[in-house]
Subunit: 450 residues, 2 copies
């Protein structure tokens, strides 16, 4: 059984193998080749770009690699004794998982941009890190080039985080931003995003908030030591948000963004993680994060609020994060040191996670936005008001829109602060009214400090 002290064997010649040679992989290779001499001089090492595993060696690609360094067998990269750092950039969670686990079992260092793999198999991955003394780096898995994981783990290590919230899926932010700016419907912009290759092959990952939830899960683990299942979280995508909602939110002084929200109450011990379209006041920094950009606001108990904004994806932003990780991995291998999550870090996160429980619905307090489609006849609003009154929930603002000639009308309203539990009860009663014609759309109103 290998040592679990967390030490690596110090070495000067360090080999890197790439598994996956798509856009990001080629970007990493390109920048590593360009910067190799600098890195060697700066770090006092001899960096060897050993091998690349591709899906189809004969496929033409922008970035050429000599045939001798190319293989179609990802495991041959992992098993190559000259490879100390395995860079997994193939995506997916099956072969990628096997590649990752095999490298970690060999005590190697793995650099990964694979948020789905980490979110779904993080516990297994980190258990192998602990058992075999390897390392796992994953800065590129969240928020593209923004060094948010390093900030949480190192720069802001003095802090406990009451709140981490952000826009961490570029595709949905691109769609919502263009809908708002160009006043075009969801389907039109989605078609564009598809054509531009902005949407993952499995569209649900982007559009239903799954990808953002994967990333939120990683941040929640790093900040609170707990892996949160989707069953214990609200995960809601952008499919039901209409151009009208965007316009009405704007009338209320808000913009609609797909937000990942991680809230922790250190007094009661609860944690809540969610992904949902939320209304952000126009003057907040995150409300200004448009297009393919990502933005994250952290509130630490020592430092207060901080916001980080940058490109969330794309070849170069992701390559920047991967190379940042590779440099940390090189230093760890050179010194036999403990950069990256070590066994001691993982023990610490375990202890941190022990004090955490998932929040109950009555503990999660917020303001809400509601869109109701109502029969267009006398007394319908009185019914709605009565439901709110019964639950002692105050309405902050109501706007009624007529649907000419259709016999229906739309009412949008915002509430004062209440719990998710009360809001759920209100929603159940509204659904039961026969004057409420469609499933109501409920969005959360979110007001971060900055």
């Amino acid at each position: 059984m290998p040592s679990n002290t967390g030490s690596l064997v110090p070495r000067r010649t360090i080999g890197i193998g790439l598994v996956g040679f798509g856009t990001v992989g080629q970007g990493v290779w390109k920048h590593l080749e360009a910067q190799r001499a600098d890195l060697n001089a700066r770090l006092g090492i001899d960096l060897d770009l050993v091998r690349v595993a591709v899906r189809d060696a004969r496929k033409p690609r922008a970035m050429s690699v000599e045939a001798a360094r190319m293989t179609e067998d990802p495991f041959s990269v992992v098993d190559d004794p000259r490879v100390h750092i395995v860079c997994e950039l193939m995506g997916g969670t099956e072969v990628a998982r096997e590649v990752t686990l095999r490298a970690l079992r060999a005590g190697k260092v793995v650099v990964s941009a694979n948020k789905a793999l980490i979110a779904e198999h993080g516990e297994e991955i980190f258990r192998l890190v602990r058992e075999h003394g390897g390392r796992f780096f994953f800065e590129a898995s969240v928020a593209g080039g923004i060094p948010i994981i390093k900030a949480i783990r190192e720069g802001l290590v003095a802090n406990r985080f009451d709140l981490i919230c952000g826009i961490i899926n570029g595709t949905t932010n691109y769609i919502l931003s263009r809908m708002e700016k160009e006043k075009l419907p969801y389907e039109t912009i989605l078609a564009d995003a598809r054509r531009l290759g902005y949407v993952e092959a499995d569209e649900s990952l982007d559009l239903d908030g799954v990808d953002a939830f994967h990333k939120a899960g990683i941040l929640a683990y790093l900040a609170h030591g707990k892996w949160v299942d989707a069953e214990h979280a609200l995960v809601q995508g952008i499919r039901k948000v209409t151009l009208e909602d965007i316009g009405r939110a704007r009338d209320f002084g808000y913009r609609i963004k797909l937000l990942a929200v991680i809230r922790r109450d250190f007094r009661s011990g609860w944690l809540t993680v969610g992904v949902y379209p939320a209304l952000l006041p126009l003057d907040k920094l995150l409300a200004r994060v448009d297009g393919a950009f990502n933005g994250i606001t952290l509130v630490g108990d020592v430092v207060g609020a901080q916001t980080f904004v940058g490109r969330g994806a794309g070849q170069d932003a992701t390559a920047s994060a991967v190379i940042g990780d590779i440099v940390d991995a090189l230093i760890a291998l050179r010194d036999g040191g403990t950069k990256g999550l070590s066994a001691a870090d993982l023990d610490f996160l375990d202890r941190l996670g022990e004090g955490v429980r998932m929040a109950e619905m009555h503990e999660i307090i917020g303001k809400f936005y509601l869109r109701l489609t109502l029969a267009d006849r006398a007394g319908v609003l009185a019914d709605v008001y009565r439901v709110f009154a019964e639950e002692s929930l105050s309405i902050a603002r109501v706007v009624q829109y007529e649907h000419e000639g259709k016999g229906t009308g739309t009412v949008t309203l915002s509430t004062y602060e209440t719990s998710e539990l009360v809001m759920e009860r209100v929603l159940a009663k509204l659904r039961a009214l026969n004057t409420v014609l469609e499933e109501p759309l409920l969005l959360r109103i979110f007001t971060p400090e900055t």
Copy 2:
């Protein structure tokens, strides 16, 4: 002669000494005491808060430290063999310099928040780091709790930075923000800032842009390997910015912020560093950074634009950064490793700096805002236009304001892109007109990517 390999002696019991026990020092001590058990467990060390040097041991203070651990002699902290990390939080550049150099000569690790010291004596400090194998950490010296130094050095290490610009002096940002929001004149808000203790004892540091220039100098060194003197930089404070300028900038679609700007042209090799009040388009992220907050936008050649926003100063924000550095120092001491700027890093920065020259005035291109006080008579504007025409500089927008009954008028205008050289020639000619009654106010218009 001590080794210059950059290795520290690995140890488990690590002692910290604090020099300076004002607001920040007490904040650091408080948080370190609170987090000591966690840090010990997480890092596998035994952290010893050895000694604190205060100016006056009998002075009552919010944070109490037992008498045995308190001294009025800063050097006794440095010389204590149990102290491995000297945390210099006293400020000033005389005793602080002696304390820092003495600690580094002993091969110790120094953690510093002292931007003036680093900007003025950085070369000497880093020479001693290299000669004696110690370490120097200084995250808290720039932008309070924002881990910007770590981002530049580690997370974004793949990048060369074409642009680093930001709001990095909280005092002037507080003053400008309140002037704009409350429509009160400079002197009124300055008096408030003084009363609240927001202005440094030497007011020129804040108001004339010197503090921001110190911080810009540190960032320029880290990004480009060159220490820039004030003689080779434009350093301009906020004293000449009036409430009227703020209002007129707003009419033009801009907000006025005191910006530090570090621009590099990698093709021509030039670098320019400046601090000056600048007009930022309202929709840019930095234009939304208000009050005591700091914000920095970096443009890296790989990652693109990133923006970081957070509290720029204050007990807790600074303490957060200091503790982040202390944790890195603890890891370096535990592992005998090379966190912080090592000799190899400094060699790398030296090589980087060799390729740098300061930009000539004709190479620095930008747009400008100009406020002219003119005699209120026929033909004055024609004279102004003629000057611009002679220098082939196009005016983008002009607004003329009457000064009722005073026989003078104010004209504000913005230009299209031109060089600092052309703008200087235009300014010299305008000054020479006898219809230009006061020294013109020239502000730069700055449009970062995000």
